[in-house]
Symmetry: C2
Subunit: 325 residues, 2 copies
């Protein structure tokens, strides 16, 4: 038997478990040209909350996944191949070789790395810093949601790219401690303790040059306030707004963008897949040398997929949230 | 005798005439290395409203001006030289050759052009389109405050740069008519008639690629709504906000910047003076051929300087506002 997770209702604001259903179904049999994959790891991402508002009901949400081929009628896929694909939220999937990437076995790399720092999460951080914000050596970088998948990757990548000072914001004192003690952030702010603008100013008395925004709202306003002239904001998401029924509060200091000649640019990582090879060329040696960590929160068991998703939306993860099937 | 206009009080919201005073003073005598200039034309600009909040009281506001040297003790300036300088809001000024530009006499060009399309006004439009928004051939451009100095230049420059469609927004039906009949805009919207988002969508059914923003507020929100993916906003001012005591309303659709991968960049023309030569090389032949107009509202008489300034803030000008001393 196989298990599949459907979205069965739309959320109003924060999603709840009842909007999903676990179904036991017969394990699908591959048709000609197809292969059956047994999923090993499922990616759990903030963007899935957005998909809940628009995707078809009565089917699984899209999600990246790593699985192993267990039966193949695709000449180009062999039993045992480890593949990266987009049929998440289920225990088994039918794929063709056109829609998967066969993963290499790289010494010193865990498989899940391809869902975290070598996946869309790490690519978002890399693209945001190198292409959108165009970070330069010696600059000061501020990262929101720094304990999350994108943020934890961004802080480490910024340091490798030559940032002088890397400051993260996160939702608990424990995560803040983790950022500075384990991930090499120079400073970390627990924003739940209040006065984010004041504490950002204290940690960056000369201002910041680059802000990687995952959050929007008050963080965006604080960053605009702290940015130096010609500062850049790479904006890849607004986790804090996905569950809001009201239009989000926009920054009151938006006009500072003119006064300080700030560049605010949104980006979607799906348009930057062409940089995947560059990302791996850059990061794999650092990962093998232990100079970059791939922090992951791995939840065991497909029956906990929905709980893992809801926990991630509430900031319950440190690093990339992954479900081990 | 000379006349000088002082700012004597700070505005709360909209400025009023009583915040200025006209003073009759002795005509200043140039010291060694100085020249006396009799001002001919004074520039009247929106940015002066911002200076009213911060500049010293009891002196004139900064302002660009064109004058003629009438007495010189600077070896490098001769009586009769026409010079561009920054000592506005007065009938006479003392200058040195280091702080002026001696203007050429170019056939077919009026002197005031150096305050309008060849001045900071035209340079703002040119920089916003070429450097900030990076306009490409075949794109659709939207310009706010299109009847003003920057906007009227921007619409014409966008066309010369190969824009497929140029749409302007302005504050009266008469100005809208002028934009399309005289300045070559493809469409013009009188925003005072309401429903700017709907009418912008009607004029640009496939969306816009570039927005040159002089206004902020509701115009910025409408433009974000109309922008196509990878659209760019060059933001050089927010006339609508200068007189506001409250923080301006920020666009409710700001998060579309992520979804559509929009780039919003503020700029200050003073940082782009190095492009002045490029601007003149580009525009002078078109001006001489009559293919670019330099719309100007010229108010006669220095005693009308304050009225001209207040009128400009209320949109009373078409094209660049200038006072003829």
């Amino acid at each position: 038997m196989a298990v599949i997770v459907h979205q069965v209702a739309r959320p109003q604001g924060w999603p709840v478990a009842e909007q999903f259903a676990y179904l036991d179904v017969p394990t699908p049999a591959p048709g000609p040209g197809q292969a059956l994959v047994e999923n090993l790891y499922l990616s759990v991402d903030p963007y899935m909350r957005e998909r809940m508002d628009v995707d078809e009901l009565g089917v699984p949400l899209e999600g990246r996944s790593i699985g192993q081929v267990v039966h193949s009628r695709d000449l180009l896929l062999s039993v045992g191949d480890l593949v990266l694909h987009r049929h998440g939220w289920r225990s088994h999937a039918l794929v063709t070789h056109q829609e998967v990437r066969v993963l290499p076995v790289v010494p010193g790399l865990s498989l899940t790395t391809y869902l975290s720092v070598l996946g869309g999460t790490g690519l978002s951080a890399y693209v945001g810093l190198t292409r959108v914000a165009q970070l330069r050596t010696g600059e000061t970088v501020f990262v929101s949601a720094a304990g999350g998948g994108v943020g934890s990757a961004a802080g480490q990548i910024a340091r490798l790219l030559g940032a002088k000072r890397v400051i993260g914001s996160t939702g608990s004192a424990a995560k803040a401690e983790y950022l500075t003690s384990e991930l090499g952030f120079d400073a970390a702010i627990d924003y739940t303790a209040g006065d984010l603008p004041g504490r950002l100013a204290a940690e960056a008395p000369d201002g910041i040059d680059v802000y990687l925004d995952n959050v929007g709202g008050g963080h965006l306003e604080a960053a605009i306030g702290a940015l130096r002239p010609r500062g850049r904001i790479a904006w890849c998401g607004a986790v804090g707004q996905y569950n809001s029924v009201m239009p989000p509060a926009a920054p009151r200091n938006l006009f500072d963008i003119v006064e300080k000649q700030i560049r605010l640019e949104g980006f979607l990582v799906r348009d930057y897949k062409y940089l995947q090879t560059e990302l791996e060329g850059f990061l794999v040696p650092y990962l093998q040398a232990g100079r970059v960590l791939a922090p992951e929160t791995i939840v065991e068991g497909l029956p906990n997929m929905v709980d893992a998703f809801l926990s991630m939306l509430g900031g319950g993860n440190t690093g990339k949230m992954i479900v081990k099937v």
